[in-house]
Amino acid sequence: MIAMTSLRAFVTALLLLTLAACATTAPVAPKPGVVLPPPVQPVKPPPTPPPPETKPPLSPNLPKGIETSGAAAPVISLVKAARASLAAGRTDQAGASLERALRIEPRNAWVWQGLSQLHIVTQQAEQAESEAKKSISLGKRNPYLDVENWRLLAEARTLRGDVAGAAQAQARHEELQRLIEP
């Protein structure tokens, strides 16, 4: 059995080695003792894909806000408290509530979005941009979440003076808006 497996592996390896010699892009199997082409095997670089603009049917299960996202109850109440503080202009208090929420659920995309909103208000553009990006990456491509994240990105980039970046983010924001509004 072992012999069979190693034979098969050997043949496979040989097969691949040979292929590598004639083909241009195929990677090479590791096989000690065989001289190989340079170790770096660049794979055929396709054009960098911007996220494709598709309009898949939106899942009805997508949460439209943190209240229905399955977040823990204390996290939801802290985010609500933060919103109230922010509306009242108490930015320090809002920050404290959001950070407390983040300690409970460090990877909650809605909390990260709340932080980004806060730092737009306090004009901390770089931080707001990082937080919106983090929210996007943790948000599992939920357009209801991301529509606001791209708006925040556009605002943050405007604050930083990145006109092109802001326009790009604004475009993405509008796309998502069309997607979620029937």
């Binding site: 390896a13 691949l16 170790p39 109850a73 204390p74 802290l78 990006k133 983090k134």
Partner: protein
């Protein structure tokens, strides 16, 4: 012999004049002295009446339904906070433990965002954590609450520092105040600062004894002594004391004097730190606030005021107990307590807190870090004098888990490896991945040692801990590298300068042919790492280090193998950036600072900035998981359950001088260093020294498993590990590998039918 009458009269007149002059001068002199003393007293009292060191608190334990804190651990937390286990709920600071629930009477506490009043609540749950919390008064469900935070230390001047916890007379237990007066100064509210009878008695005693002894002093006199005077015993000092006491009484009310006394009186010594006042004495001896002390505990405190070194409760418990019982007897005689209370209190032991440090100065290594961060922003005096309240990020449970590991595992390691006992040193740091909060710091094998802090100050070569940053620099070029790129494990020489050729070798001195990139990292091979580093360039690797938060990596190829010195805390910083998916957060140990009145002064909001690209960081983390699954850290799974996915890296330096492990779960980063202060060989690799400690720590912390959640620009695909090509369900062995989107292998593996498309040449060659 009689003098002429005229002479006598003249003489008398001269004598009278002289007497008047002398007494006037004396009066002026006394008046001047009094004025000087008066000013001294008033300035001392009206400005800062007492020096208040900044108080340092741990992070409060948050409580909410769904928290995976087993009730047994919550109970431990309550014990650490000095809550009393009682059969039925009493006042704040007590709890009742029954199966599946804990009834807790919490203490009120002023947090940064306001006061949380004392409540009585019921916490339900079990081994898995908390299932429900409700208010015992209103019966309402509680969403989220927190316990009062633990006082973990204070910042007082390093030499001869006074430490105290402020108490208000109005908040002090009545029995303490009445009991204190009953023992020390029964006529306090009626005398004018001194007791004539007491002084007369002392003077008589001194005369008969032939030397000066400690005379009976009023509360006022004792306060003056503590405030201004040395302990020398001279008539001059005694006179000064009497004079100042009377002056104090003129300017200040009895209650003000008594409150000052409660905060000023010397209550004991803790190394170089002088324990002043009953507030600190309460936590120093009983690890509880003054308001929660019982009769026998209050009696002990009142008893030892007489001479805290002579009556040191920890060193002379019998003598102190006798003194305490005497105080209780006086209280019985003065009807402050009933006969039943007296009998019950007398029967109880001293009940000192188990921790010899008595609830303060628990975690000196962490407090050092806090002090250092504060010194950047506050003048020294503000820290040691103004009673700032510092709220930190320390998690007592995490800190104690780390301390326990080092305390148990180092001696065990020395024993099992037959090393000289007591020579190994160690340090450790735990941080929260998102937010960069320092949760635990240990700076020495003697975990509560307040001296040299290796976690902050011992910069040692990091060895292979540097490798992930080399691989990350490569993976940031997806057009050149992916996790399955083959890297030659072959000898390599690097020309450092004209006469300096560097030829590194693998740790096992073997060559492994061509290895996939991820495997070269997992097995910590040196040669492929140097090859990769040379291909991407030193400056690229330097900038990855900078992105991770370390800015001092030299422009030398030797950094690929970790020839750079870092402290464990700095290592935690760079691994923290990896754990946070490329978002750098400067590590912080402080959340908020309040004034002594509880007013918010400053908040330290967390800062975050994306410094490294998420996709390549995700690929690096994937490879670091392989370190534990297949590579040099396989032994980790002897301690942690196989379902727990963690990422990390071993580090070993030349001659086995340093044994490192740095790694992370979904929400925590931990770094362990083991080595010797004299830089001699430990005989340990990263895998045999630091790794087992790290793995058991992660087990003890119940670490959260890493999620398989690739970011948007990463795609996963099924690969045939033999060929590194795309696999399908027909392939005997497959693995799922993440690639940067757009750079996935396109060719199918032979097992997936791919290679058979072009068989001619290899068939010919095979059968030739």
């Amino acid at each position: 012999m009689a003098l002429p009458p005229i002479d006598r009269r003249t003489l008398l007149r001269y004598a009278l004049i002289a007497l008047t002059l002398i007494s006037s001068a004396l009066l002026v002199w006394v008046a001047l002295q009094v004025a000087v003393l008066d000013r001294e007293i008033r300035s001392r009292f009206s400005n800062v009446r007492w020096v208040l060191p900044a108080q340092v608190y741990a992070a409060p334990q948050e409580l909410y339904p769904g928290l995976n804190l087993p009730l047994s651990e919550l109970q431990q937390e309550l014990n650490r906070l000095g809550y009393r286990a009682v059969p039925a709920l009493e006042g704040p600071g007590s709890f009742v433990a029954t199966a599946g629930r804990l009834d807790i009477a919490t203490r009120s506490f002023t947090f940064w965002d306001g006061e949380q009043p004392a409540t009585r609540m019921q916490v339900q749950g079990g081994v898995d954590g908390i299932s429900a919390i409700r208010d015992l008064n209103s019966n309402a469900e509680i969403d989220l609450t927190r316990l009062d935070p633990m006082l973990i230390g204070s910042i007082y001047p390093s030499r001869g520092g006074e430490d105290r916890v402020l108490v208000r007379l109005a908040d002090s237990p009545a029995l303490l105040v009445q009991g204190l007066l009953a023992v020390e100064d029964r006529n306090f509210y009626s005398h004018g600062g001194i007791s004539i009878r007491g002084i007369a008695r002392a003077a008589l005693e001194n005369l008969t004894a032939g030397k000066l002894r400690q005379g009976a002093s009023t509360i006022t006199q004792q306060l003056i002594k503590n405030f201004f005077l040395s302990s020398e015993r001279t008539v001059k000092r005694k006179l000064k004391e009497i004079l100042m006491s009377m002056l104090l009484e003129v300017h200040y009310s009895k209650d003000e004097i008594l409150e000052a006394y409660l905060n000023e009186i010397y209550m004991g010594q803790d190394g170089s730190r002088a324990v002043h006042g009953l507030g600190l004495a309460s936590s120093f001896y009983f690890n509880k606030p003054l308001s929660e002390l019982k009769a026998q505990e209050l009696a002990m405190l009142v008893g030892i005021i007489k001479g805290p070194s002579q009556y040191d409760p920890r060193r002379r418990p019998e003598r102190v107990r006798a003194r305490r019982d005497l105080v209780l007897k006086i209280w019985l005689e003065t009807k402050l307590i009933s006969r039943e209370e007296y009998e019950a209190a007398k029967a109880l032991p001293l009940g000192l807190s188990g921790n010899s440090r008595g609830g303060v100065e628990r975690y000196p290594a962490f407090v050092q870090l806090v002090t250092r961060q504060l010194r950047e922003q506050y003048p020294e005096e503000a820290l040691t004098n103004e009673g700032l309240r510092i709220f930190t990020t320390l998690k007592p449970r995490v800190q104690e888990a780390l301390e326990q590991r080092l305390t148990i595992d180092l001696p065990a390691l020395e024993k099992s490896r037959k090393l000289v006992s007591g020579k190994l040193e160690a340090a450790g740091v735990v941080t929260s991945a998102e937010g960069g909060e320092v949760q635990a710091v240990v700076g020495a094998r003697n975990t509560r040692y307040a001296g040299f802090n290796r976690a902050l100050d011992s910069r040692r070569s990091i060895g292979s801990l540097a490798k992930p940053f080399v691989y990350l620099a490569a993976l940031m070029q997806p057009e050149r590298y992916h996790l399955n790129s083959l890297i030659a494990d072959e000898p390599i020489t690097v020309k450092l300068s004209r006469n300096n050729i560097w030829s590194p070798a693998n740790y096992d001195k073997k060559l492994h042919g061509n290895v996939p990139l991820y495997m070269a990292l997992a097995q910590s091979y040196n040669l492929p790492t140097v090859r990769l580093g040379m291909e991407v360039g030193v400056s690229e690797v330097q900038s990855v280090f900078a992105g991770a938060g370390f800015f001092d990596a030299p422009a030398l190829p030797s950094i690929f193998l970790g020839a750079l010195d870092m402290a464990p805390l700095e290592v935690a910083q760079v691994y923290n950036t990896l754990a946070a998916s490329g978002y750098q957060t400067p590590l912080s140990s402080i959340r908020e600072v309040l004034t002594k009145e509880g007013m918010p002064l400053k908040r330290y909001p967390f800062k975050v900035k994306q410094t490294l690209p998420e996709g390549p960081v995700y690929l690096t983390t994937w490879a670091l998981r392989k370190v534990l699954e297949q590579g040099t850290a396989r032994a980790a799974y002897n301690a942690i359950p196989s379902s727990m996915a963690l990422a990390g890296k071993t580090g070993t330096t030349d001659d086995l001088r340093d044994s490192w492990f740095a790694g992370y779960s979904a929400d925590q980063v931990a770094v362990i260093w083991v080595g010797r202060d004299d830089y001699k060989s430990t005989g340990l690799t990263g895998a045999s020294g630091a790794l087992p400690i790290w793995a058991r720590l992660m087990r003890d912390l119940n670490a959260k498993t890493l999620e398989d959640a690739p970011p948007a620009d990463v795609e996963e695909t099924l690969i045939d590990p033999g060929s590194g090509l795309r696999a399908n369900e027909n392939c005997p062995r497959t693995m799922t590998v993440p690639y940067m989107a757009g750079y996935l292998p396109t060719a199918a593996a032979p097992c997936a039918g791919g290679a058979l498309a072009e068989p001619s040449q290899w068939l010919q060659e095979m059968f030739n």
